[in-house]
Symmetry: C2
Subunit: 222 residues, 2 copies
């Protein structure tokens, strides 16, 4: 298994946004498309990533930076999928920021990476506040969480480019109204690209991959 | 509707734990049992509270302090249930702490409250770090979130007295192993009281109410 380990202990209180901008420029110079994936605990980030890697790995070289407070169970799954995995263990911190990502990015051979996913800490609040240097921000909201979350966690919906509504296969069990969610989310962020997906049944996974590649082309040519 | 509104703006950086201890003593002097309810977004905190209020309200006078970043949709539901509702709007903060709770507790007529629930911000990370003055800490984990969460968010499992595993009605759709969860949680916290519940089907709701009353008696007599 190909897992590197970086324990974040003393986070330098430098200006996060400046460093994020610097990381973004460096990644772009190496043609690396970095995508920050954010969601509540258990929304399906790892499952989505595993299926996304499976669908992309023949055409792109993929790496994943796994953010966790403790444990490296997700990094182990990612490494098994064939992608490069770098584990950041925050030891308590509730989000990833640019100073935490820098050593993880430093540890990668950027000329051998096309797409770099960041699986952020499971938290619908704090990760929204920190620019990591990613070119694209995607949030997941699972059907069991409910369609009212844009009202309660507005910053996440405001800062993201894409929203994947996951676990659509269990919609029959929940009173989840996709149109109500769309309306609420688009009030906060009219440009948010919303897509209901299900990694288990495959629903709209092709469409997600298509959109992701389109975003990559757009960012790399910008 | 009986809703008071307190917007938290400038949180005083006093020593949280001292203030929490002070609040706990004051509540106890008024025979108020305060319970801090914590979980990820969408784990079912409000639904659980509504059914809990319904089952307790003929015997106890109940108040709920609702913590939200934005919106007051939950406080409106609570007020409709007949309990007193106090809304704390944190305006961005990802958790409740003792300085935020003080004005909310100050606003209540404590001699007319027997049980005071605090519905914390939906976040499995940060709320675990702050003593609010509650006598009992209960976390919810919903079945769709998965049985591996104790590995990834250990502090919450370590600090709580009770763990309610919610949305058990959708267990057939998920690969959720209750025994695996129990083992993982009890390694962190051997005294954690774990109960699978479902507000929708009523599963174990009587047992939850029984345990809650038992804890109240224990705390009030300690």
């Amino acid at each position: 298994m190909d897992i590197k380990m970086i324990d974040v202990k003393n986070e330098i209180l430098s200006t996060n946004d400046d460093l994020a901008e610097e990381l973004r420029s460096r990644l772009k110079a190496h043609h690396v498309f970095m995508v920050n994936i954010m969601a509540s605990p258990g929304a399906g980030k790892t499952t989505l990533l595993l299926d996304t890697i499976r669908r992309l790995k023949d055409r792109f070289r993929i790496a994943v930076i796994e953010g966790d407070i403790e444990s490296m169970v997700d990094a182990e799954k990612i490494a098994d999928s064939g992608a490069k995995a770098v584990q950041i263990r925050t030891g308590g911190d509730c989000h990833l920021d640019a100073p935490m990502l820098k050593p993880a990015i430093d540890s990668l051979d950027l000329d051998n990476v096309d797409i770099l996913f960041v699986e952020n800490i499971g938290n619908l609040v704090c990760p929204a506040e920190f620019d990591t240097g990613a070119m694209l921000k995607v949030m997941l909201l699972s059907v069991p969480e409910g369609d009212d979350k844009a009202l309660k966690y507005p910053l996440m919906f405001s800062v993201c480019d894409g929203l994947l509504v996951t676990k659509t296969d269990c919609a029959p069990l929940f009173d989840f109204d996709m149109e109500r969610l769309r309306k609420r989310a688009h009030i906060l962020n009219p440009n948010l690209h919303i897509l209901p997906v299900c990694a288990k049944t495959g629903e709209n996974m092709d469409e997600w991959i298509r959109w992701l590649e389109e975003q990559r082309t757009r960012c790399m040519n910008a």
